[in-house]
Every structure is written in structure tokens, then in C-alpha cells.
């Protein structure tokens, strides 16, 4: 770029990581006197200034409750809240904003589907099929509803690379399979599942499919109509928005037929002590005053991503991940966990002779933030015969230079335990 005019003209079709970094004020923080190297975005992402501003503006100029007052502030708040719903629909190419239920997050969305849809359709002998890669939040809600209904939870195994064994997955599909719930991208290993193929086969067996997209939406564009899934859930906070907000996309006919999940204000049409009738979809599933300020911030996060060339951003992230994989692999005592052919955003590994928790403490002193532990995915750890990994996870703002700092900090870890 030679001039600011040229920069402005091409900014939407190329990817300038330094420019992106300047959008995230926290990236200028110093940690224990060192520059922050934030490699924990799969845990939660950082937030751009635009998101912070949107929430601040909302509380300064529009704060009121939604859907229920005649005054101007309530009108503004309602417009912002419903505007974010529309943005979320466009973000995943949902056919209609009314197929978007605003939730507290991915976990809330999965529990909603398990307790509302699952509990009303599952009978004794029915089966729910998940994969070995799932986060605890896509395991436990199904265990709960299976206990309640007498249905059985089945688990498709993974291979040594951390990929779902598709033949085994197919052989577990049967007329008894009522629900298939799988992650789009593994939070612990970064595996990208062949989700379109999984959905197609599950549908052929007559199952309804929920996709946990929490780790997919920050990295690439989603089109729920072309995927053909029945439910798609994700969280705002992993895609540069605030915590406490998420989306459940549901096929309209399914949402219409589902009973309410929680009772309260805003989800009703009329209430008497004899009989209550419910509001229409999606409001039927949004009991109580929601996290309005958070939803406004979420809308700003969607706008932020809309202003970025996502394909170019993904290319950049893939480059940093490939670089990280190569650099970390050069360390002689490293064992990489999760070597799937299709991966995004995550490098999970072990340093022989060093417990990940010790590594995490020493990395932190070097300014490097990673997650260590089992990543809410204990079955994956058990599958590989380990108790924990060091997980470096990436977002659009990470750079090769930060990977160099990670590698240098890992050398420091080895030094302490030499």
C-alpha cells in the first residue's frame, strides 16, 4: 500500500494483520513486563474497539428494556437487539431472523435443544449419536436427556490423528438414531469435521442434526442453508463479541413444534392461572430480560467480521498455524496431539517430562497466554492416554512473530526442567 487512499480502497479485499491488531486495544497490554502474546482465543477471543464502543454507546444512549415499553429508549434498545438478530441471521445465511434464538451461549443453546426438542421426541430405545471429539457441553446435556427419557448415548470413535472415524460413525447410524450432535471444529485438537458429509449421512438415517459451531464461526463463514443442518449453535465471545450471548439457529418447522425451554416474561402471549399461551418463535425461547447490552456488542462483532475479507483472514490464520506446527515440532521433546488433515486455529501439544500446568505458569511469566489442561474434553485426553495438553489457539490477530515468542518461551520452560 503506498497511500492511505489505496489502503482504504483495498482494505476490504486483503488482510493486514497489523491493522487488525490495532483494532484490539488489549493486545497492547504488557504481562509481567513483557508484551502480551495471546494464544488462548479458543478459550475466549479478545474484543475489538468497535464492540467496546457499541456496548458503551448502548448503555449511554439507548439503555431500556426491550419489547415492552412505549418510550423512545425502549424503541432504540429493541431496534438494536432485533437488529443484532438480523445480523446473526445474515452472518450464517439463515433464511429468516425468526430462526435465530438468542441464547446465553453455545452451552445454553445445546441444553435448550436437548431439553426442549430432545426431551419431547426421545423415547426408550432411541439413540443420540455424538463423536469422541465433543466438548463436555456437547456431551453432558445429552447424557442428562438420555437419563430422563431412557434413550441411549452413542459415541463415534476417532483415529490417532484426532479425526472422526466416518465408517464407524456410519455404522452407528440406525433407525433408532433420533439426534446427531457433533462439533464443527474441535476445541481441543482443532480438527475440522467433514460436517456436510456427516449431516448428509445422518439425514439419510432419519436423524435430526445439531452442529456445535463455537470453534468454527471465528475462523470461516458459515452457511446453514447449504450445510442443511437442523440446529447450529455458537457463542459471541469466541468471535470477538462479549460473553453471555450466543445463537441457536433452528429449522423453523422444528422450532415451531418445540415446547418452551424456560418460562417467564417475554415468552408468553397471554397468561392466566388457568392457561398460558406462548409467544411466537423465537421469543417463545427467550424468557426474561436478555443480555441486551451483550447482544448489541455481538451485533457489532458481526459487523466487524463483515468488514474483513474472511477468506484472506483464514489464509493468514492457516499460515500462522502451519508455521506454529513446524516451529513447535522442531523442539525435540514435543508430541503434537491432533494431526488431522483438516485443522483450524489450534495446536495442542506436550513437552516430554514437563507437565502442561507447569509449562503454562512459565509461559505466562514470559507474557504468553495459552490454555493448559483437558480443555473440557476429558474423553479426548483419555483417548490419547494423557491428562492434559498445552494448547496454543489462534485468531485473526495472531502473527508468526508471536509464534517465535512462544517457541522462545518454550525453550525457557525446557531450561527450568532441564
Amino acid at each position: 500500500m503506498t497511500s492511505s487512499a489505496a489502503t482504504a480502497a483495498t482494505a476490504r479485499t486483503s488482510f493486514d494483520v497489523q491493522r487488525v491488531r490495532r483494532d484490539f486495544p488489549i493486545l497492547a497490554e504488557r504481562i509481567h513486563g513483557k508484551p502480551l502474546v495471546y494464544l488462548d482465543s479458543a478459550n475466549t477471543s479478545q474484543k475489538p474497539q468497535a464492540v467496546l464502543d457499541a456496548m458503551d454507546d448502548y448503555y449511554r444512549h439507548a439503555n431500556a428494556n426491550i419489547h415492552r415499553a412505549t418510550h423512545l429508549l425502549s424503541e432504540r434498545a429493541t431496534a438494536l437487539y432485533e437488529g443484532a438478530r438480523g445480523k446473526a441471521a445474515a452472518f450464517i445465511n439463515a433464511p429468516d431472523p425468526h430462526t435465530i434464538v438468542l441464547t446465553k451461549g453455545t452451552t445454553d443453546g445445546i441444553n435448550l435443544v436437548a431439553q426442549s426438542y430432545g426431551r419431547s421426541v426421545l423415547r426408550e430405545g432411541d439413540e443420540v449419536l455424538i463423536s469422541w471429539l465433543e466438548h463436555h457441553s456437547n456431551i453432558v446435556p445429552w447424557q442428562l436427556v438420555c437419563e430422563q427419557t431412557g434413550a441411549r448415548l452413542r459415541v463415534a470413535p476417532i483415529n490417532d490423528a484426532g479425526e472422526v472415524d466416518l465408517d464407524a460413525f456410519d455404522s452407528l447410524l440406525s433407525p433408532r438414531t433420533r439426534i446427531v450432535a457433533v462439533g464443527h471444529v474441535s476445541n481441543a485438537l482443532g480438527t475440522v469435521n467433514p460436517i456436510a458429509r456427516i449431516i448428509e449421512h445422518a439425514h439419510a438415517a432419519g436423524a435430526v442434526v445439531l452442529v456445535d459451531g463455537a470453534q468454527a464461526v471465528p475462523h470461516f463463514a458459515i452457511d446453514v442453508q447449504s450445510l442443511g443442518c437442523d440446529f447450529y449453535v455458537f457463542s459471541s465471545h469466541k468471535m470477538f463479541g462479549p460473553t453471555g450471548v450466543g445463537v441457536l439457529y433452528g429449522r423453523a418447522s422444528l422450532l415451531e413444534a418445540m415446547p418452551p425451554y424456560q418460562g417467564g416474561g417475554d415468552m408468553i402471549a397471554s397468561v392466566t392461572f388457568e392457561k398460558t399461551s406462548y409467544n411466537v418463535v423465537p421469543y417463545k425461547f427467550e424468557a426474561g430480560t436478555p443480555n441486551i447490552g451483550g447482544v448489541v456488542g455481538f451485533g457489532a462483532a458481526i459487523d466487524y467480521l463483515a468488514g474483513i475479507d474472511r477468506a484472506a483472514a483464514l489464509e493468514h490464520e492457516d499460515d500462522v498455524l502451519a508455521y506454529a506446527t513446524a516451529r513447535v515440532s522442531e523442539i525435540p521433546v514435543v508430541r503434537i496431539i491432533g494431526t488431522a488433515r483438516q485443522k483450524t486455529g489450534v495446536l495442542s501439544f506436550l513437552l516430554e517430562g514437563v507437565h502442561p500446568h507447569d509449562a503454562g505458569t512459565i509461559l505466562d511469566r514470559e507474557g504468553v497466554a495459552v490454555r493448559t489442561g483437558q480443555h473440557c474434553a476429558q474423553p479426548i485426553m483419555d483417548r490419547f492416554g494423557i491428562t492434559a495438553t498445552i494448547r496454543a489457539s489462534l485468531a485473526i490477530y495472531n502473527t508468526r512473530e508471536e509464534i517465535d515468542l512462544l517457541v522462545r518461551a518454550l525453550e525457557r520452560v525446557r531450561g527450568v526442567f532441564a
Binding site: H32, G33, V354, H355, P356, H357, D358, T361, I362, R365, T372, G373, Q374, Q378, M381, T387, A388, V416, F417
Partner: protein, 147 residues
């Protein structure tokens, strides 16, 4: 600012590398399993009590350097002591690792190397796991958890 060498002292690194009493005891009089769900650390503790005296104590499991070294140091510290003395030492150790770093604490001899965790609040549970497991074993509970 606290230094990493306060946490990873030679004694801790040594006990991590060569943990003492790292074995099982066949049919011990007391045993307990400790678990730290935060990091997945697991610890099986075996205690042999004859009369009122801890005549043998051993552990197995996987964990970080801090939890392993703490377990190793603990077994050395309580072996040959009475159950009452072990309980009292638990209280004193617990007090040391949970006292804010800017306040003085008593000298617990070798065990004092773990006082460095006070500068690293998320690691206090690592240092405490073995001790909570010992307490559970003495109380004949099956499991201890730092949560």
C-alpha cells in the same frame, strides 16, 4: 515481582524428578484418591497406620511438578509421626500456602519450599492436593478434591 525460581526451587525440581515414596502399598489401612479437575491431576495415596502411628505412606499418580513434589515432601514429612501430628501439620501447611505473600509465615523446614506458590494463586491447589488427600485418607473418605 516474584521470580519463577521462587516457585521452581531445586528441592521441588528434585522431588518432581525423583519423587520419594512413589509406589503403592499392598492393603494399606487407609487410602484415598485425590483429583484436581482443573488440570486433571490424579493422586492415589496409601497410608499404613499401626496403633496411632503412620508407619508407611506412599503415593502414585500423575500431576504437575508442584503437586508431585508436594506429595513427595509430604510423605517424608508425616512418616513416623502420629495421626494427630499429621493432622496438625496439615493445618500448619494449609495456613502457610494460603497466607498472602506479603505476610510472614512460620518455617516448616523442607515443606517451606512450597510457600513460593503464594505468588502464583492458581497453583495453590496443586500444592494442597496431596494434603487434602491425606486428610481424606485419615478420615477414611474415598476421594478428595481441591474443588
Amino acid at each position: 515481582m516474584s521470580d519463577l525460581s521462587d516457585l521452581y526451587q531445586e528441592v521441588i525440581l528434585d522431588h518432581n524428578k525423583r519423587p520419594r515414596n512413589f509406589r503403592s502399598i499392598e492393603s494399606p489401612t487407609h487410602r484415598a484418591e485425590g483429583y484436581n479437575p482443573l488440570c486433571g491431576d490424579r493422586l492415589n495415596l496409601y497410608v499404613q497406620i499401626d496403633g496411632d502411628v503412620i508407619t508407611d505412606v506412599a503415593f502414585q499418580g500423575s500431576g504437575c511438578a508442584i503437586s508431585k513434589a508436594s506429595a513427595s515432601l509430604m510423605t517424608d514429612a508425616v512418616k513416623g509421626h502420629t495421626v494427630g501430628e499429621a493432622r496438625e501439620l496439615f493445618e500448619r501447611f494449609h495456613h502457610v500456602v494460603t497466607t498472602p505473600p506479603d505476610q510472614p509465615v512460620e518455617d516448616l523446614g523442607k515443606l517451606s519450599v512450597l510457600a513460593g506458590v503464594r505468588e502464583f494463586p492458581v497453583r495453590v491447589k496443586c500444592a494442597s492436593l496431596a494434603w487434602h488427600t491425606l486428610k481424606a485418607a485419615l478420615e477414611r473418605e474415598q476421594r478428595a478434591s481441591t474443588e
